[in-house]
């Protein structure tokens, strides 16, 4: 029994890890607390739904459309909302409020068009597989596999490409890169595209697994943000660790206590970390003046 819960925890954790990697990429480089990331996640699921259920296009095409929808929205938010603020050197408070505004706008737009009820995508019961007494569905295996592939791809991207090099450079000092002649505007767009890709991919997989409603983005955003903090701000791969840790903890809470406390437990973990280990598990301790 415990093995089953651990397996479930790792599966949910890998979804959290995937979205957290994207959130962490954006947060570590631009220092924007991207609340509208939740709206990107929601939008991607609804684009997927529109293509698959309303336009009756094949599954493969619909997934690609869903991911493209999320990525495009992410880029648009950066170009229309964040970049002008960045040029004006706005404070983090301004960014976060704008981001809340974007989130409210998009989520209510979706609710207005599609209604508030839950939408289901997958037609029936998923095929299940059994390994040593642990039962997993096909989509759960896809979720886990998707996370592993993306995680390896992300490592490659960071360590072996020039994009990765610039991303790491921005994270360690955001002011120095422009003076080396790097096109920051383009780099930021790429960062937002990559981050939104993580959110959209996991959104489409989860949408297939359990369906969607207009408010799915907020809990996912919150868990991603918590994963980034718990894993450690400033380190690009640490959100994955944070996400897995939260997935496992939630699963154990569901097993030992009750499913209704899982969100609260996530935030108890967050507050404990903020108070006693603000640099997170793998993070580097910084002085307050450096963080801000």
């Amino acid at each position: 029994m415990i093995l089953q819960f651990i397996a479930n925890g790792i599966i949910t954790g890998s979804i959290y890890a995937l979205t957290a990697l994207g959130f962490g990429l954006i947060y570590n480089t631009t220092r924007i607390f991207h609340i509208a990331y939740g709206a990107v996640y929601t939008t991607s699921a609804y684009v997927f739904y529109t293509f698959y259920k309303i336009l009756n296009l094949p599954l493969f095409v619909s997934v690609i459309a869903g991911i493209a929808g999320g990525v495009i929205l992410g880029i648009l938010i950066e170009m229309i909302v964040y970049y002008p603020l960045y040029k004006r050197k706005a404070s983090s408070g301004i960014f976060i409020i704008s981001s809340i505004g974007v989130y409210i706008f998009i989520v209510n737009l979706i609710a207005m068009v599609f209604g508030n009820e839950v939408k289901i995508l997958s037609p029936g019961i998923e095929k299940t597989y059994e390994f040593w007494g642990i039962i997993l569905t096909r989509i759960q295996l896809i979720e886990f596999g998707g996370f592993l592939i993306m995680f390896l791809f992300y490592i490659f991207l960071l360590k072996r490409t020039s994009f990765g090099k610039m991303v790491r450079a921005v994270a360690s000092n955001p002011f120095i890169l422009p003076s080396f002649g790097v096109n920051v505007r383009k780099l930021r767009i790429e960062i937002f595209a990559a981050g939104s890709f993580f959110a959209s991919l996991s959104s489409c997989m989860v949408a297939w697994d359990i369906g969607m409603d207009p408010h799915v983005g907020m809990p996912v955003l919150l868990v991603s943000a918590v994963s980034v903090i718990v894993g450690g701000v400033g380190v690009f791969l640490s959100p994955a660790l944070g996400g897995l840790l939260i997935g496992l903890t939630q699963s154990l809470v569901v097993w030992r206590i009750s499913a209704r406390w899982e969100q609260a437990v996530t935030f108890v973990i967050l507050i404990l970390f903020l108070l006693f280990r603000p640099q997170g598990l793998l993070g580097i301790r910084k002085r307050v003046e450096e963080v801000l």
Binding site: G101, I104, L222, R260, W261
Partner: protein, 289 residues
């Protein structure tokens, strides 16, 4: 007429909330997403005392205020050590934990079933239950809160808070006791928010946890930011704007099913536009710099 009175009563209740949040956001510079939690603690605290022990509305209200102020300490303490995004996230965490407790502690709060049949407030022998009476009642309390906050904001306390908002290090170099000022700001703000919770419970006579969610916190914050924070005018404009907007939408003939969504979309859109061109909101003073 009844509809108008209902709107006005809700405005009174929300105006109290927005004014109390202004103390934190506009004066303290602490962007908090936990205000619906204090609103909820006030509503539940007062209701449970009235229905459980049978005390009158006013003593229960005082107890609710104290309870909310007490819980404010849990969020005030982290605020002393956390900056910017980290504090926002901590306040958000507090909001979610309070909601989870209201929702899941069924033995105390009846959880998702809510608490029906909350008694109306009683002033000596007069029971306040008709709409006009309620309007006057909430209006008087709103005015009391308004003047209380106005005096507070113009006092040395309010000015010291503003100094912290502008530059914490300078304020502390000038001998201001920063931890104590911040903690008091939280305690007072949470206490005032509890008043609107109690009024809401007494007015609607039914509460359940879904009135005190994170979305509600975001909504309260967006009213304040649209109006503007850091002075007395801003929140007032935000609250008035909140009256006019639903009415204007009805005027345009939007169906009731999508009207709430359109209203929220307008708030979201305004937040984005204002932050870009006018960060102090329609009539506020604090520019989040």
């Amino acid at each position: 007429m009844n509809y108008l009175l209902h709107i006005l009563i809700m405005i009174n209740i929300y105006a109290i909330l927005v004014f109390s949040l202004n103390l934190l956001v506009g004066y303290g510079g602490l962007l908090s997403l936990a205000h619906a939690a204090f609103y909820g603690i006030g509503a539940y605290g007062t209701t449970l005392l009235m229905m459980g022990i049978g005390v009158n509305f006013f003593p229960a209200l005082v107890a609710g205020i104290l309870m909310s102020s007490f819980f404010a300490l849990f969020i005030a303490y982290p605020s002393l050590r956390l900056k910017g995004d980290y504090f926002i996230l901590a306040s958000l965490g507090f909001q979610i934990i309070v909601f989870a407790v209201l929702y899941n502690w069924i033995g105390l709060t009846r959880g998702p079933y809510g608490i029906p049949g909350i008694p109306r407030p009683r002033l000596f022998s007069l029971e306040i239950d008709s709409l006009p009476e309620f309007f006057i009642f909430t209006g008087v309390i709103f005015l009391l809160v308004f003047f209380f906050i106005r005096i507070l904001c113009r006092s040395p306390f309010g000015r010291a808070l503003k100094a912290i908002r502008e530059d914490e290090m300078t304020a502390s170099a000038l001998g201001k006791n920063i931890p104590s000022l911040k903690i008091w700001a939280f305690v007072i703000s949470a206490g005032v928010a509890a008043i609107s919770g109690a009024l809401y419970a007494g007015y609607v006579t039914y509460i359940d946890p879904t009135s005190f969610t994170l979305d509600e916190s975001i909504f309260i914050l967006s009213i304040l930011l649209v109006g503007g924070s850091g002075n007395i005018k801003g929140p007032l404009v935000g609250a008035v704007f909140m009256i006019i907007l639903p009415e204007a939408l009805r005027f345009l003939g939007l169906p009731d099913t999508i009207a709430p969504n359109v209203r929220q979309m307008i708030y979201g859109f305004l937040l984005v536009i204002l932050m870009r061109y006018r960060p102090q909101g329609l009539a506020g003073e604090y520019r989040f710099e």
